[in-house]
């Protein structure tokens, strides 16, 4: 899956999770930018991403995720 397709899929997951079809992500979007993005929702996002891309994140993978860009890079690395 190319970077673009990964981005589109992740954006759709965010839209579903936050119940907001207008939501637009950038690589810099982080938890401060989305009101409901708290630690609880972080887990749901990761679970949904795991399911969508057939991945299983380990402890080390999820430790240093700062923003959407980090998340996209992680997915790209693991699906490569």
């Amino acid at each position: 899956m190319d970077s673009n397709a990964i981005f589109e899929a992740v954006q759709q997951i965010f839209r579903d999770n936050f119940d907001d079809e207008e939501l637009v992500l950038t690589r810099e979007t982080c938890a401060d930018d989305i009101e409901d993005w708290d630690s609880l929702e972080q887990i749901n996002l990761l679970t949904a991403i795991e399911k969508k891309f057939g991945l299983k994140f380990g402890l080390a993978d999820v430790r240093d995720l700062q923003n959407v860009g980090d998340l996209l890079d992680l997915i790209e690395r693991m699906t490569a």
Partner: protein
Amino acid sequence: MQTLEYPFDSGLILQKKRSLKRQLAAQEGLVPKKVAILSGSTIGEIKNILELFLLNAGIQPEFYVGGYALYYENILFDDGSLAAFQPDILYIHTSSKNIVNLPTQADSPQQVEEKFSAECARWQTLWNAAAKFGCPVIQNNFELPGYRLMGSMDAVDTHGHVNFINRLNTMTAEYAAKTPNFYMHDLAYLAASVGLDNWFSPTVWYAYKYAMDTQYIPVLCHSVANIIKSLFGKNKKSVVLDLDNTLWGGVIGDDGPEGIVLGKETPAGMAYSEFQQYLKELSRLGVLLNVCSKNEEEMAKKGFERADSILKLDDFVCFKANWEPKHRNIAAIAQQINLLPDSFVFMDDNPAEREIVRRELPGVTVPELTAPEMYIRALDKAGYFEVTTLSADDKKRNEMYKQNAQRAALEQSFGNYEDYLKSLEMHCEIGAFDQAHAERITQLINKTNQFNLTTRRYTAAEVEALMNDDQYITLYGRLVDKFGDNGIVTALIAHKTAPGEADIDLWIMSCRTFKRQLEHAMFDRLVAVCAEQGIRKINGFYYPTAKNLPVKDFYATIGFEKVAEDEQGNRTFAFTGFDGYQPQCTVMETVLL
């Protein structure tokens, strides 16, 4: 909502929780309940998803969320906030991670025993303290561990954690069996059914301190919500079954009774037989079985005459085999046994029939069915009939509904309704609430919806408190007739307000004894008790719900005057006709207990 019915897609529920909540919260007639969740591990998302399943069961929860891992402190050393919240339900979400006295290999056998006793005492102290909140307590038992130091020996040797947890679960179940208002939630079964390696994720535990993989949170919440809905009388009560390819294989009209697939000869036959066995046991729990099938009635009935048919004709309350549309038959069944459509589960192998019933009778629950060997699972895992209390009446319920069918047949042979009632040779027994009947009375209070003037619900603890309070007048009634004993079917609670005045807080009657003058016998008794206690005025209240419309004018029919009605349709009635009161029940003897 189909998204939340078994078999649901957990991932979808977690992802769409916001929009699902929006849709579910918009329903009408939700019953508000206060639910306290105590935490042994992270519970944030558990609260959110439990809310969806409760909304789906018609319950609008308000939550108290305990501090992280503070289940013990929140209950034993409540700072007053939990008591002030006045929970209707207390759910203690703990897991094996909350066991503090697990043995080590260094312990002597005696030390292991001491640890086990200490662990049991710790939990029982918690549970005894939880009982003080006066509401049902739901407690998880303990899932098996994710690893076993000694392999299989872990279950045998007392040092083994598998052995320790198994014993702890036995203790928990025994405590639940003897403690009213305490309900064990079988977390161990749930974890086993999804698989222990799936249930517990070390990553999720260390990263977020969830003692279970978050993807199974909907499975957990569905299971807990089943207990809660059962406690609040939201269980289904009846199953309507198709015949061909549902209770047996093949089409009886084409293949004949000897040609249908049933019994031990074929794999599919065995699957149908086991499904019949499951249904038979379900009916012994008090779930009413009915047939609705497109068939010639005479031919359809022959299927149950086969020696190897586990279900027999007299296991069914209503038997509709005809060519009418199924939703009309189901509506007729509902009317005949006096239940609302939302008390029914309809099982049919034909997707088109399922769809029509879903569309025409939206209250009826219609599970998806695939192959016959999966029918039991579709019915069982959904938890429609989750058992929380089992009274002697439950086990007799099928019998009682069949007697009602006999009564209906008799009624048709009388021109005059009073003559018919007299021919039933009824008598009733009326008494004040007592310990021996408290469980049945509480159950009746919490599940009666139609003949229910105020729809107030009472916990077991509240019912018991009333018995010893001389400001309260309580009555329950049992009805017996020549066809059998209907059991305890009505209850009334009144309390004294001003001198010489009493308010009726609650008056309920089971729908199976409507129009038998039992309500008159109850009122006659209430008038007598009030007169003895110097009461000269009784106030009655009607609060409308989606289900109790039939009794909106009930008080007016027994001699009350309507004195007020507000915009919501809440009505107030008053009765003062003590002087020269004539008993209204004319068709039976009343035995006072």
